[in-house]
Structures are given as structure tokens and as C-alpha cells.
């Protein structure tokens, strides 16, 4: 008896203690986030200037505007310029030498200068709920909300850079997590796995992006400068050239785990809007998607397109198509372990097992009862005989005995 209690107690400890301990481990992750704000040394600054994307003429600006210069060099525009894109803006595309009050070169009516390249996106934005909103800037001047308010002016980063855009949303929309918590179960988890426009741009097309993620560094994996591996690896496992199957995805992940140490690379899924245009078609909150059933059912629209992605060195995403069944195949239990939307991405094999279990559970009693009924005479005879044998071969004498035998 003692050992049963001991086993039970041990089991309780093994199962129970980690649950109690879980809370303490949570806060550690938060501490690692705010490290980036560093000032550059002189040597680093000189290197930045030497490798700058700016022409000699534009570099004159940085004599006074070094802060803006550093921001610019860290952004996507400098990066694509270094890669040979001459359309990417430099200082003088937004500011002119002689316009002293050139602080807000952005034109809310036309989207210039951003719309020069991003015109399709500006057109979508121009009819969205945000384009009608006036906000105050640092100097208390009111202006219509425009591109730089979310994407910033000098350090414009790739849209997919970590959580930057979500943070832009939350910077103005304070307290929305609490507001969502009032009606949305697991609101925090939804905030992590679903992009804001996925619900707030109902007309847009949605999809699932499975991002290669570094578990040790706790951020998405970036390809190393000059060593593009992702696409060639993906092509190597995509034998039919029709997108990655569940098995192909498993071997792709194995490849990445080989570089980063076993188990270091995983996939983080995110439900998002398919295009940049779509993600700017934001409507007022009354029209946002609120029905759980919209996503949480088999065949739901957002799960009909799946990509695997890695961040390029400049932060933009490199994507590779995958079959939609990577989300519902039993093979993906491990590889897509970090992404699961109840109902929508359920594993088919488990559905079959459930049918088997219920069918077994129903047919066993029916079958057993049927056989019992078919042999009812024999059974009764057996019961009577059994009763006689064990009561010293006497026939049942009392009514009690007889009823027991029946």
C-alpha cells in the first residue's frame, strides 16, 4: 500500500511542480529584449560612412545630421541601394538643400515621396480608415496620418522586421490587448500569432507564414550576408517543384538544425495578410473579423496558402511556397510544432482515430448485446446449471435462487 501512495505522490510532484514553476520562468524572456540602443564609436562611424549607400554629394548632409545618417544606414532604403537599386531614396529625394522648413516633406494627399515607388500601397492606404485621421507630431502640429507615422522616416525597416509594425499599432492604440481580452479567449496568444491587419483588413487575402526561428537566440533566423542558403536548400528538397510537402519541410528543417545544433531551429507560424497592399486596407473596428469560426474551422480561408520564410540580411523576407497540408499532416507534428489553430489545422490522422474509437465504442456493446440475445436460451440454461452445481447439485429451491439464475 505504501508504494502506491508513493507512486501517486511522485506522479503528482512530477506533473504538478512544473506547472507551479512555470510562472517564474516567464519573465526571463522579457529581460533580453532591450539591449540594442548603443552609440557608435568613432571607428564604427567612419566605417559606416565608408560603406554608405549615399553619393558623395549626399554625404555632405551627415556633417550636421549624423543621427539621421545612422538611422538611414540601418534602414531598408540604404540596404536596397547598396544592392544596386538606384530608385531607393537618398536625403535629397525627400529634403531639398534650400527648403529650410523641410521637416515634413511627406504629402498626405499624394503620398509623395513614398508613393513614387509604393503607389499601389498608397492607393490602398488612401481609402483606409487611417488616411482620414489627424494626429499631432512632436511639435504639436496636427497632420494627417501618413506613411512615416508607422514606418518612420529615416530608419524605415522591412515590414516583416520582428514586431516593429505591431509595436507601431500598439503605440497609438493603447490598451487594445485589454479590450480584446474582454471577448477574445487567449487574446495575448492571438496578438502573437495573428497580425493586426489579418482581422482589421477584412477584405484582404490571408495566409500562414511559417518562419524559421532560432530557439536559442529567440528571434527569427536571418540569412548571413553573401551566403544565401534558404532557397537552394528549399529547392533541393522540393522534388516536384510544386512547393514543400510535409516531408520536404521536415528535411529542410533538419538541414537548418544541422548548422544551428539539434533542436535549435524551429518554425513559428503567423497568420497574416498576403500582400503589402492588403495589409493597408484597414477598416474601422466595427467591420473587423470577430467570428472565431472564421478561422477555427477546417478549410478556413486563411489556411489555404502557406509559405515558409527566412529573413534576408536586410530584414526583408524570402519566402518559399508550401502545400497547405503541411498544417494538417501527422508528419508535421514536430516540424510545425509551434503553430496550431484549433479546428483549422487539425491533424487528419487523429480524426480517423476518433472515428475508429467511437465506432468501436458503439459497436462493441451492440455486438455483445446481439450475441447475448442470440444465445439467450443457452445462457439461461448455463446459469441454471451453474447454480445447481455450486449449490451441491440441488435444483434452485427458493424464489431468490431462481431469480438469480434468470
Amino acid at each position: 500500500m505504501k508504494y502506491t501512495k508513493l507512486i501517486a505522490l511522485l506522479l503528482f510532484i512530477v506533473v504538478g511542480m512544473p506547472v507551479l514553476a512555470a510562472d517564474n520562468t516567464l519573465s526571463k524572456e522579457d529581460e533580453t529584449v532591450s539591449e540594442e540602443e548603443e552609440t557608435l564609436s568613432e571607428a564604427e562611424f567612419a566605417l559606416l560612412v565608408a560603406e554608405s549607400a549615399l553619393s558623395k554629394n549626399d554625404r555632405k548632409c551627415l556633417r550636421c545630421h549624423d543621427e539621421e545618417f545612422i538611422q538611414y544606414e540601418s534602414g531598408i532604403h540604404a540596404s536596397v541601394r547598396r544592392q544596386g537599386n538606384t530608385e531607393a531614396p537618398v536625403c535629397t529625394d525627400c529634403h531639398t538643400t534650400h527648403r529650410v522648413r523641410g521637416k515634413l516633406p511627406y504629402k498626405s494627399a499624394t503620398g509623395a515621396p513614398c508613393s513614387k515607388c509604393h503607389d499601389a500601397i498608397f492607393e490602398a492606404y488612401a481609402v483606409s480608415v487611417h488616411s482620414q485621421i489627424r494626429v499631432k507630431d512632436d511639435e504639436d502640429d496636427a497632420h494627417v496620418l501618413g506613411c512615416p507615422d508607422c514606418h518612420r522616416s529615416h530608419d524605415v525597416t522591412a515590414a516583416a522586421t520582428e514586431n516593429q509594425l505591431k509595436e507601431s499599432c500598439l503605440a497609438c492604440h493603447e490598451g487594445v490587448l485589454l479590450a480584446h481580452e474582454e471577448w477574445l479567449p487567449n487574446a495575448g496568444l492571438h496578438f502573437e500569432a495573428v497580425s493586426c491587419p489579418a482581422c482589421h483588413a477584412p477584405a484582404a487575402q490571408r495566409k500562414v507564414d511559417l518562419r524559421l526561428y532560432d530557439n536559442a537566440a529567440k528571434k527569427r533566423i536571418r540569412e548571413k550576408e553573401g551566403v544565401p542558403q534558404f532557397e537552394s536548400r528549399a529547392r533541393a528538397v522540393d522534388l516536384e517543384g510544386k512547393g514543400l510537402s510535409a516531408l520536404a519541410l521536415q528535411s529542410l528543417l533538419r538541414e537548418f538544425n544541422r548548422d544551428g545544433g539539434e533542436g535549435n531551429t524551429s518554425l513559428r507560424g503567423r497568420l497574416e495578410v498576403s500582400t503589402g497592399v492588403g495589409s493597408h486596407q484597414l477598416t474601422d473596428k466595427g467591420r473587423a473579423i470577430r467570428e472565431c469560426e472564421y478561422c477555427h474551422q477546417k478549410g478556413a480561408d486563411p489556411f489555404q496558402s502557406v509559405t515558409i520564410s527566412i529573413a534576408r540580411p536586410d530584414g526583408r523576407l524570402l519566402r518559399y511556397d508550401a502545400h497547405t497540408d503541411v498544417l494538417s499532416s501527422a508528419v508535421s507534428i514536430d516540424s510545425v510544432g509551434g503553430f496550431y489553430a484549433i479546428g483549422a489545422t487539425r491533424i487528419k490522422l487523429l480524426d480517423d482515430l476518433l472515428i475508429l474509437s467511437v465506432a468501436g465504442g458503439i459497436s462493441l456493446p451492440i455486438g455483445h448485446t446481439t450475441v447475448k440475445w442470440l444465445v439467450r436460451r443457452r445462457r439461461r440454461r448455463g446459469e441454471v446449471q451453474g447454480g445447481m452445481e455450486h449449490s451441491g447439485d440441488k435444483p434452485p429451491s427458493s424464489p431468490d435462487d431462481r431469480s438469480a439464475a434468470e
Partner: protein, 232 residues
């Protein structure tokens, strides 16, 4: 007809709360997993109900757990450590359900307060109560707030892994919920076991019907039983 007290009050309370709760969990669980194909209630309500009932069941589990932990009745859950005897007895029980019962043979297992489970039940309930049910509660708790338990969810390989374990056990219970009540009707009368779960007392057939291959030296012919407890 004799009566023996085999289901103490805490066990009966636990059993019926657990029974209602499990049915609620299965229904809401099916609704949550099969939105669009099954339409018993709104998804959101199913999730909320599933969470609440889950916590009630976890609390209820401790009625069962603490009762047995501090009662000598825990003997009913003691495993048979002799594997030969265990398999022989289990086989005999299986042969009874699959063959003997059709011939009108008596049940080879005889209930007593410290021996209420037959060998098949005994091993099933050890697995269910000490393994499946705790794992189901544990995975359910992780899935209830994945963010709060993110470290542990990742330790197990991610939300899909935890969910798969939760669903696999759900699949076992989905079959169990049909078979368990049926087996409960196979007492000496169809309602004997069910009544016992309400009253605590199991009616035992006349002593004359107690049979079994006797063990050497056992004055009772029944192999795995103790003398009958008379009802108080």
C-alpha cells in the same frame, strides 16, 4: 442476497461529478475541434465552458486522489505484481466477457470492499486514473493558457505536440464513454453495478454461485478474493 459496501461516499460524489464533467468535456471538445461540421453551440462558448468544466474536474480529481491517498481502500488500485497471475486472471476475465458470459458461466471475479475491480478493470483504472487523466488535465492546463506556460509548452515540442497528446487521450475517452456504461450493465442484473454507484452497496448473488479455480490452501474456492464483507 447479500450487500457489500464497495463505493464509499467520496468516491461516489467524485464519480458522478466526473461523469457529468466528462460528458460535457467530450461534447464541448468535439464542438471546439469540429466547428463548421458540428453546430451545438458557438465556438467561443464551447471554449469557455470547456475551460471551466476542466477546472471543476481537476478539483474533483483531488477528492478521489486525496480520499484514496488517506484511506486503506487504496488497495483496490494495487497492481498485481505477479505477471503470470495477472495475465492468467486477465485472460480468464476476457474469456468470460468474450465467451463464458454467452454460456451463462458465472463471472470469475467476485467483488469485495478491498477488491472491487476485476483484473482487467484494475489495470485499466490504474492507467486511466494515474496516467491518462492526469496527463489530460496537465495538457489541458497548458493549452488553456499557452502563453503563461510557453516555456513548458516549448519544452514538450510546441503547442501541436501538446494538443496531439490531449486529443489522443480524448480519443481514448471517446471510446471509453460508450464501453464503460455498457460494462456497467453486465452485473448479475443490468442495473446492479449502476445502483451500487448511487447507494454504495453492491448486491452479491447467493454465496452458492461463488466459483473459481481455487488456490491451494484457500478455504474459499475463489482464487483472488477475500472473505465476503457483510454489509454493516
Amino acid at each position: 442476497m447479500q450487500k457489500i459496501y464497495i463505493h464509499p461516499l467520496p468516491v461516489r460524489i467524485w464519480h458522478w461529478i466526473n461523469a457529468c464533467g466528462f460528458i460535457a468535456m467530450l461534447i464541448t471538445g468535439v464542438q471546439i475541434r469540429y466547428v463548421g461540421q458540428i453546430d451545438l453551440m458557438a465556438f467561443r462558448n464551447a471554449v469557455i465552458l470547456h475551460n471551466w468544466v476542466g477546472f471543476v474536474l481537476i478539483g474533483n480529481f483531488f477528492i478521489w486522489f486525496l480520499y484514496y491517498l488517506f484511506s486503506d481502500k487504496i488497495k483496490v488500485y494495487h497492481p498485481e505484481l505477479n505477471p503470470v497471475k495477472h495475465y492468467r486472471d486477465s485472460l480468464r476475465q476476457l474469456v468470460y466477457y468474450g465467451y463464458g458470459i454467452f454460456k451463462g458461466d458465472p463471472n470469475p471475479h467476485h467483488v469485495s470492499a478491498y477488491h472491487k475491480f476485476n483484473p482487467m478493470q484494475s489495470v485499466s483504472y490504474q492507467i486511466i486514473m494515474l496516467l491518462l487523466v492526469p496527463i489530460q488535465f496537465f495538457t489541458g492546463l497548458l493549452l488553456w493558457d499557452i502563453q503563461r506556460f510557453s516555456t513548458m509548452v516549448e519544452l514538450f515540442g510546441g503547442v501541436r505536440v501538446v494538443d496531439t497528446v490531449h486529443v489522443l487521450i480524448f480519443i481514448v475517452f471517446a471510446g471509453f464513454i460508450f464501453i464503460h456504461p455498457y460494462l456497467a450493465t453486465l452485473g448479475h442484473t443490468p442495473t446492479a453495478h449502476i445502483k451500487a454507484m448511487f447507494t454504495g452497496y453492491e448486491e452479491i448473488e447467493d454465496a452458492a454461485r461463488i466459483t473459481g479455480e481455487g488456490e491451494p490452501g484457500n478455504p474459499f474456492k475463489g482464487s483472488n478474493r477475500e472473505p465476503l464483507d457483510r454489509s454493516p
